[in-house]
């Protein structure tokens, strides 16, 4: 399929306002596609062997001297290891600092939700969506760190003001992750917390799962920065003596 992707073995579509979680193994490929160009995917990572090890946005941004996430960036745990690498990205700038929408944001923007009338068109919020998935693993709100928001570009102005950019939204944008260690992935497809669209977005996200080729010496993500070479070294140490 490519130098990075060995195979795509499973495809599904997640409607907006939904949530899912799955445990993926080291060497798994996850490709997300924003089919309509209006979506957002919130995502959190944990080490299934030690749920106290979790994605750390500040460490991820700081060690790669970046505010945005795109191809080449690695996603770090708070233990100096890499959960996943961003091996492909057509979007260019994903957010990892704005967190989630809460019920009060959704109500303020789009009115009170009503399951009896709305059924599966109810307006779920990102925070509650994560709480539901976290509870399945004995986790709760205190385990939420900053999440990623795929397909949402948040820019700053000169004074540090934060704005959700809409310019690069287009149907069919993809981002592909390669998992560098076994990872518990939690995700939701609720709107970005800074989304002020007139109506609650209703488009689905495509998720493909498959396997990656073995990492080569000249791997783009591993060599993207010196820091990432050291991050991969930390993963190597973690995997010493373990069967992948």
């Amino acid at each position: 399929m490519s130098e990075i992707i060995r195979s795509i073995d499973y495809t599904t579509h997640i409607p907006s306002g939904s949530h899912w979680s799955l445990r993926v193994r080291r060497g798994t490929i996850m490709r997300l596609t924003d089919t309509a160009g209006l979506g957002n995917v919130g995502m959190l990572f944990y080490n299934p062997e030690n749920l106290l090890e979790r994605y750390n946005a500040p460490d991820t941004l700081k060690c790669q001297h970046t505010f945005k996430l795109t191809q080449g960036n690695c996603l770090y745990s708070d233990m100096g290891r890499i959960f996943a690498s961003i091996v492909e990205d057509s979007f260019g700038w994903h957010d990892t600092v704005m967190g989630n929408s809460h019920a009060e944001h959704i109500e303020e923007r789009w009115g009170k939700r009503d399951y009896q009338n709305d059924r599966n068109q109810w307006m779920q919020n990102g925070y509650d969506a994560f709480l539901v998935e976290l509870a399945k693993y004995g986790l709760n709100g205190k385990d939420i760190a900053s999440n990623l928001n795929w397909f949402s570009q948040v820019v700053t102005d000169q004074n540090g003001g934060l704005i959700l950019a809409q310019d690069n939204k287009a149907p069919g944008q993809t981002v592909t992750l390669r998992f560098e260690m076994d990872t518990l992935v939690l995700l939701h497809t609720c709107p970005h917390p800074l989304n002020t669209a007139e109506i609650y977005p209703r488009e689905s996200i495509q998720i493909e799962l498959g396997t990656a080729h073995d990492i080569q010496e000249d791997d783009y993500c591993m060599n993207f920065r010196e820091e990432n070479l050291r991050g991969f070294k930390n993963n190597q140490l973690y995997h010493l003596g373990l069967i992948a």
């Binding site: 106290l52 750390n56 946005a57 500040p58 460490d59 941004l61 700081k62 060690c63 001297h65 970046t66 505010f67 945005k68 770090y76 708070d78 233990m79 100096g80 290891r81 700038w93 600092v97 704005m98 967190g99 809460h102 009060e104 709760n140 709100g141 205190k142 385990d143 939420i144 760190a145 900053s146 820019v155 700053t156 004074n159 540090g160 003001g161 934060l162 704005i163 917390p193 800074l194 820091e227 050291r230 991050g231 070294k233 930390n234």
Partner: protein
């Protein structure tokens, strides 16, 4: 920039936190405290918890999202992971504080600086020692979220970069906060020896409280 009218002679509590040490203590609702950079360009890596339920804690993302700004200064309301207002910055003569850069840890030091730096002292190790030595606060690693780096300047560039600019703090600069709830304050006075921000020379800070 907003300076303070509070007089040191009226303070109810004062404590110098040496370079590389931690401080843990409770500030009551309505009390104001000052973090004072005694020698300049020091970083105070700070966490806040609800004193009655430590699983409610300072949240960098909730704070940045609700004020739609990455920097903290006078007027900033510090939010918890339940999106409640915990504290408010009432005075600041430094001008800008960082909440994006997180704290140094032995593990992230290996990535940022060198694999051989693993054994150097770090802020998160100071927090781990603090929560181990003070079980009475009920804080565990699960509760350790993203922190504020008082006196640190970490500008975001237009093209999405993150820069570690020279400190804009100096000897005698301070920031003051009023507590909106009874709050546990956990400060690591950063021991980082690899970062030019503090001139590779960690120095003491002072923590000063005024009763309501």
């Amino acid at each position: 920039m907003q300076s303070s009218n509070l007089k040191i002679s009226n303070a109810s509590f004062r404590k110098v936190i040496d370079a590389g040490d931690y401080f843990i203590g409770v500030v009551l609702k309505g009390e104001t405290f000052r973090i004072l950079d005694l020698k300049g360009n020091q970083a105070a890596d700070t966490l806040f918890f609800n004193a009655h339920n430590a699983s409610e804690r300072y949240s960098a993302m909730d704070t940045m999202r609700e004020q739609a700004n990455v920097y903290l200064t006078t007027g900033t309301k510090l939010r918890s992971n339940l999106n409640n207002v915990m504290l408010e910055i009432t005075a600041d003569i430094c001008g800008r504080h960082d909440t994006l850069g997180g704290a140094c840890s032995t593990e992230s030091n290996t990535v940022r600086y060198d694999l051989e730096k693993r054994c150097m002292h770090s802020c998160r190790d100071s927090w781990m020692l603090a929560i181990a030595e003070h079980p009475e606060y009920g804080i565990t690693k699960r509760d350790i979220g993203h922190n504020i780096n008082f006196f640190m300047n970490v500008p975001v560039t237009e093209d999405g970069g993150l820069t570690f600019a020279d400190g804009i703090s100096g000897a005698g600069k301070y920031v003051e906060l009023v507590a909106h709830m009874d709050t546990i304050v956990l400060i690591s006075n950063c021991p980082q020896l690899n970062n030019p921000c503090n001139g590779f020379n960690p120095t003491p800070i002072e923590f000063i409280v005024w009763a309501e």
